[in-house]
Symmetry: C2
Subunit: 351 residues, 2 copies
């Protein structure tokens, strides 16, 4: 395996911890000695060992003189667990290849410095674009103090979320709806608007593959008036989107998912507060002005200045299409994260 393939393996491992690691970053590590993988692992749930330590335990004595590939800079501070740097040095690892720097103010280059001080060879930057994509929620929260904001919309080819009689269950296929549960499980907070709460009585629990996720996100409904119905356990807020996100980020929430409906989605989109939009597009048409539009901006835009997004990925999901789109702001920020690898970054202002 090439170095790139080994980092790809570390990235694949990290995805196993995507749902369980937050508020910690989900990291993967692979240890290689004489071209053979002797240990690997990913971040364990809060309080458990980090990926580096899992991989070191698996490698045992074989870690001596070996190389570690790890997606994020190892920590050098005492948190809930001892510093990973100490374990790496103690195990006799002689080379660490890390994809990106950890912008957490307690790390921010100190991990790399400590490794170098101990005589370990350090390389940074391999597959950094892919790692930034993977860890974007963590990186955004640590650098800006605000969570990564995803929004989800399920609509027809003519961009309707309900027919003229309000029929909306279900526009998309079971596979697309299951992807929606995965998005919930990857978020630490979910938000709906008051009309969605009253019309659909959603549970808002994360049930990917039909199974309740171990870690359930906080559930919130935005309401500026008395609700005629609210699902038990769902919390009500009348904050502004900006104030809500600031509070969530301050509380360590890495990712927030906006589930709709159109009014709430529009208020977040129009304030440029949505970083990543998932569109589940069902190949059907209502062809009806009376059907409910997915996007209605307070001030309509013209072709000279539309609300413009960047298409990251398009894929078939069941009979539907999943589109993953990023805002311009999110795209710019990700580029920044992927290049600032060799020094402690400062907080991003004006976010």
């Amino acid at each position: 395996m090439t170095d790139q393939e080994l980092m790809g393996r570390a990235l694949a491992l990290s995805r196993h911890a995507r749902q369980s690691a937050p508020p910690n970053p989900w990291v993967g590590a692979v240890i290689v000695a004489d071209g053979v993988v002797v240990g690997e692992g990913c971040t364990q749930p809060l309080g458990g060992p980090h990926a580096e330590v899992v991989a070191l335990r698996a490698a045992g004595d074989l870690a001596r003189g070996a190389t570690m590939f790890v997606t994020l800079e190892p920590c050098a501070h005492h948190g809930r667990t001892p510093p990973c740097v100490d374990a790496i040095v103690a195990a006799g690892v002689t080379r660490v290849v890390a994809s990106i720097l950890d912008p957490d103010p307690r790390v921010g280059g100190r991990g790399f410095a400590a490794l170098k001080d101990a005589g370990v060879q350090v390389e940074v930057g391999m597959e950094s674009d892919r790692t930034v994509q993977e860890l974007i929620a963590y990186l955004t929260q640590r650098r800006t103090g605000r969570p990564w904001v995803r929004a989800k919309v399920a609509m027809t080819l003519d961009a309707k979320v309900a027919d003229s009689q309000g029929g909306s269950q279900w526009i998309t296929s079971t596979e697309a709806r299951d992807r929606g549960h995965l998005l919930r499980a990857q978020s630490q907070a979910i938000v709906v608007g008051s009309k969605t709460m009253e019309a659909d009585h959603p549970l808002l629990t994360a049930r990917p593959g039909g199974v309740m996720a171990t870690l359930q996100p906080q559930r919130w409904v935005f309401a500026h008036r008395e609700l005629s119905y609210c699902t038990p356990g769902v919390q009500v807020t009348s904050e502004s989107p900006q104030a809500f996100l600031d509070r969530m980020g301050g509380a360590g929430v890495l990712g927030v998912l906006i589930e709709g409906g159109p009014t709430l989605l529009t208020s977040f989109v129009d304030s440029d507060l949505v970083d990543e939009l998932f569109v589940y597009l069902a190949p059907m048409v209502f062809g009806d002005d009376g059907a409910k539009a997915a996007f209605r901006l307070p001030a309509g835009r013209l072709l000279v200045d539309p609300l413009r997004l960047n298409l990251i990925e398009a894929q078939k999901v069941g009979t539907d299409i999943e589109l993953r789109l990023w805002s311009n702001k999110a795209t710019t920020l990700a580029s920044l994260f992927a290049t600032e690898l060799d020094h402690a970054p400062e907080a991003v202002s004006e976010w």
Copy 2:
């Protein structure tokens, strides 16, 4: 290479003749002797040799005792060129692997029968789904008498083809617009509505990659009134969509492309006359009820009975997404074509 890979190679070759072969089918052929490709080719323009003969000429004496992989049943009749079957037998090919039967009434199994009569081993059906997808326009015209009807729409994420001031040039990227020119070059007739003609003054020529295609499609505008503008060389018709398609099919047109606008597209879609819809989706939003909708059916549909299509493919094209969708009728017909391989098919009625 496996037999499947060799048929895949024949299919790839056939695509080179996609634009130049009609009204003939675009076919690919590969000749293999002792595991080595000794000759290959694709259909030449009208009056030139078929794929089988091109491959045989390349193979020369090496065809003796060899196997031919060919995407469509070889012809057994005298048309503009002598029968391919005679050439195959004369060259000493001992095994022919064909993907699908040729439904042309002059062939329809006679090619396979003639080969078997001459002692050639014949196998039919390899990669038949892929070949049916590739040759669907040809197969549809030969089996139903009607051309394969494609429609193209370029729209925003909120399914608008123009902003509230009529701005529509250009919603999609240059790459997506170039795909539009490729669709034109693959069609034998292009159709627009009167409003599109008057508003956009389109040339309607096929210029993929910025180069005028050698074979240009017929250009038509549907108009039930006097036009204030018509591009020179564009023909006017006031027929119904059904009558127009019947006439085109009768004249040997394999594929028709409906280019819009929404009124014309709707009239074809609503009559279930569109087989394949290409949607070029730009990642932008107008969010404005006053912007022009891509789909407005005379009678709006509800979720219990929407206009439903089948997603065949989704891919990024420049900064946009290209969606390829088939009607239910087209999907059913393609399944039929892919299974009726060992007998002369009858004409499909009620199409």
